[in-house]
């Protein structure tokens, strides 16, 4: 309110022309010691940058982009614009204009006229001006360097023989390694003759995506297909997995492709999407479970079960004395050997069981749902993803029947889902806690059941609150899929390492990893943009 009035007055006020330069210098530039130091440093930095600009030689660039050795029109324009002397002149002009603008603007208290924009957006005070200029120069050099490495000085031929000849003379990147290995990087060892199945999967996804955009963005006519679309998405996961995996046949169009042969970006995206997709609902359930107030086990049952356990503990009576080796630190030898008589062993068992039961009953009021959720979440959050993956890979088979051979990829995905679900649950719980009591009460008062209140009132608000956190988690998970290489999977990054190890492309790590980084970045960045869009869209009329 007040600001609007002030701005109005400011606009209406007659500009004052009291040119009090010394007063202005005192007030704005040399107001405090650190401001003075900062200003001086910035001035020095600018002078140094301009000086180095004068002395700079244009970076040696290859013009091989065009076959005859002639630079493209845009290429030569950028080269000219960023060559030392011209750049310096541009910077000098900007600097002078900026300085003049700042002094001129400071000479008046208010700044009417078209230059207002310049002042506000670029030359916002002397520090703003100097910082903008310094950063501007840095950015120009950075862009120039990146462009000359990635494009203007780069070599795009994919045929290893000619690249071998050109390698030493090429100043920029040798992108041939990517082009020549694009299949490996994209889908790994997936058999070439059935790659159409991947294209078909992609087609399904793109088709659904296109329909979804239409159904959710252009109003009523397609609204009716929203529900079928949601089911379509769910079904598509299974259709696509079937397409990718194939049948048991050894040959033919639907031949089975073992997940060992999946690799590259295909593997990354499969793990990420299934991990993200499945951990979301599981996480929500865990969060609700952790807040559950269900008295899952009535007191009577608890004691009944407790007695049964005691009976079992006592009944599980060993025939001979039991020797326990308890590891110790700072003790030589580092174990403490205890020999328990059958009686005391059984008593110990019973005691531990009763203790656990008592803890569950006393601290969690017999709420098994809550107990399970808390134990699961805290156990998983206490270990790194790598450990979970190792456990999924090596420990899980020990607990399962011997002849049950679970697919390596499936094990890894289960590990990723469980890991991510635990974090998801904590985020969702944060959202649930932020919903005021009044919302629960109002939902109950109008007669909604507990499940309905959750589904219609509480979760929609809670999830909306935690969208940024959830998307952050998903982005993290997407990038963490790189860890699966540790358990022998060839995801995009691991495939990149393999590609670099080929004799004809040896030593081209920079190109490969830059490419992989770009792919990860594009996807992570799109997710973050999509989340912002979603937030905006859902934020309508919020509070």
């Amino acid at each position: 309110m007040t600001t609007t009035t002030q701005t109005k007055e400011a606009v209406l006020a007659v500009p004052e022309f009291d040119l009090d330069v010394s007063g202005w210098l005192r007030d704005t530039v040399f107001g405090t010691t650190w401001k003075t130091v900062f200003a001086v440093l910035l001035i020095i930095a600018n002078i140094l940058i301009i000086r180095s600009g004068f002395g700079a030689e244009p970076v040696g660039l290859s013009f091989d982009l065009a076959p005859k050795g002639v630079p493209t029109a845009i290429g030569s324009l950028i080269l000219t614009l960023t060559s030392g002397p011209l750049l310096t002149i541009i910077v000098l002009v900007l600097w002078l204009v900026g300085a003049a603008t700042v002094i001129y603007s400071a000479s008046r208290h208010h700044w009417p006229g078209p230059t207002q924009w310049l002042k506000d957006s670029i030359y916002n005070g002397p520090f703003g001006a100097l910082t903008t200029l310094a950063l501007g120069v840095i950015i120009i050099f950075a862009i120039r360097g990146v462009l000359s490495w990635t494009i203007f000085g780069a070599e795009f031929r994919t045929d290893p023989d000619s690249v071998a000849v050109l390698r030493d003379t090429t100043p920029g990147a040798i992108w041939g390694i990517i082009g020549a290995n694009k299949k490996l990087l994209a889908v790994g060892q997936y058999p070439s003759e059935v790659i159409w199945r991947i294209w078909a999967s992609l087609g399904i996804v793109l088709g659904l995506a296109g329909l979804s955009v239409l159904a959710w963005n252009f109003g009523s006519p397609l609204k009716s297909i929203r529900k079928p679309l949601v089911w379509g998405w769910v079904a598509s996961i299974f259709v696509i997995l079937f397409l990718l995996r194939g049948t048991g046949a050894d040959t033919g169009p639907m031949q089975g492709v073992s997940t060992i042969r999946w690799g590259g970006f295909l593997l990354t995206i499969v793990i990420a999407i299934i991990g993200i997709g499945a951990s979301f609902p599981i996480g929500v359930l865990l969060a609700l479970g952790r807040r559950s107030e269900t008295r899952g086990v009535p007191v009577l049952w608890r004691w009944g079960a407790g007695l049964l356990l005691i009976y079992w503990g006592l009944g599980n009576w060993p025939d001979d004395a039991v020797t326990l080796n308890i590891p110790l630190i700072f003790h030589d030898p580092p174990v403490w050997t205890v020999t328990l008589s059958p009686v005391s062993y059984a008593a110990l068992q019973a005691f531990i069981l009763v203790g656990i039961f008592w803890a569950v009953g006393y601290y969690l009021q017999g709420n098994m749902i809550k107990t399970f959720s808390v134990v699961f979440i805290e156990a998983v959050r206490g270990v790194p993803l790598i450990t979970v993956l190792f456990m999924a890979n090596t420990l899980l088979p020990l607990f399962l029947p011997k002849d049950l051979d679970i697919d390596n990829l499936l094990r890894v995905i289960v590990g990723v889902i469980l890991f991510s679900a635990a974090y998801m649950a904590e985020n969702v719980r944060g959202g649930l806690q932020a919903i005021p009591r009044g919302q629960y009460e109002a939902a109950m008062a109008v007669g909604l059941s507990g499940a309905q209140s959750m589904r219609l009132i509480i979760l929609p608000q809670a999830l909306r609150l935690v969208i940024p956190a959830i998307v952050g988690l998903f982005i993290g998970l997407f990038k963490d899929t790189t860890l699966v290489s540790i358990v022998g999977m060839f995801d995009l990054l691991q495939m990149g390492k393999t590609v670099v190890a080929q004799p004809e492309w040896l030593g081209l790590q920079r190109e490969t990893f830059a490419f992989a980084a770009l792919i990860y970045w594009v996807f992570a960045f799109s997710m973050s943009r999509a989340s912002q869009r979603l937030e905006r869209k859902l934020g309508v009329g919020k509070y």
């Binding site: 009044g438 009460e441 109002a442 109950m444 109008v446 219609l456 859902l538 009329g541």
Partner: protein, 248 residues
Amino acid sequence: MNELGNDIIICNDVHKWFGEFHVLQGITTTVKEGEVVVIIGPSGSGKSTWIRTLNRLEEHQKGQIIVDGTELNNDLRNIQEIRREVGMVFQQFNLFPHLTVLQNVTLAPIHVRRWSREKAEEIGMQQLERVKIPEQAYKYPGQLSGGQQQRVAIARALAMQPKIMLFDEPTSALDPEMIKEVLDAMQELAESGMTIMAVTHEMGFARGVANRVIFFDQGNIVEEKPPNEFFDNPEEERTKLFLSQILH
């Protein structure tokens, strides 16, 4: 005044404890169909707690509460049954911020009464007209003033076509200039024959609209009388003291 019907709310020696704290200390009273009861009393005396036991937002631990012929006990179906017939309006409105006004109003009819969307919207719009804000139907609660929000809350409760309406200090969170629009809506409701229990300190409303005023203190009913008698001729010392404090 309306013709009063059968007993619709019966409280019989209702007790409640918050841990050690004995918040409701044996309330016994009945409310008849079509009756308008105003409850006044000092802050912290348990008025909210009592009124919230009537639709089981709070559990009572001893005694008997019968609403519309159904006893409130741990049976979940009874509770759902009663909540369908009892509308409640809160001090803080408690509208659902992620839903439009009309969605707020039609949500329970659709999901609890299982009416079709068309029917729910028709009745919802009728209720919004009744509280004089049909033009706000497609806005979100956050875009409305306090008085408008409270009227939406009334319409939301009415859309379930309840037999009883409970109000817990519906005007205490409002700016003075908005109190009247909410009281007008409540008065119209009272005149239509709705059974109302309202905790409020709007003495004008109590005098003009109520059939009975209950003075509530320290977890129990101290005095209950028709408004004229209550204000002009209070018997209990505590009532006199309280009235002298709020009427200056």
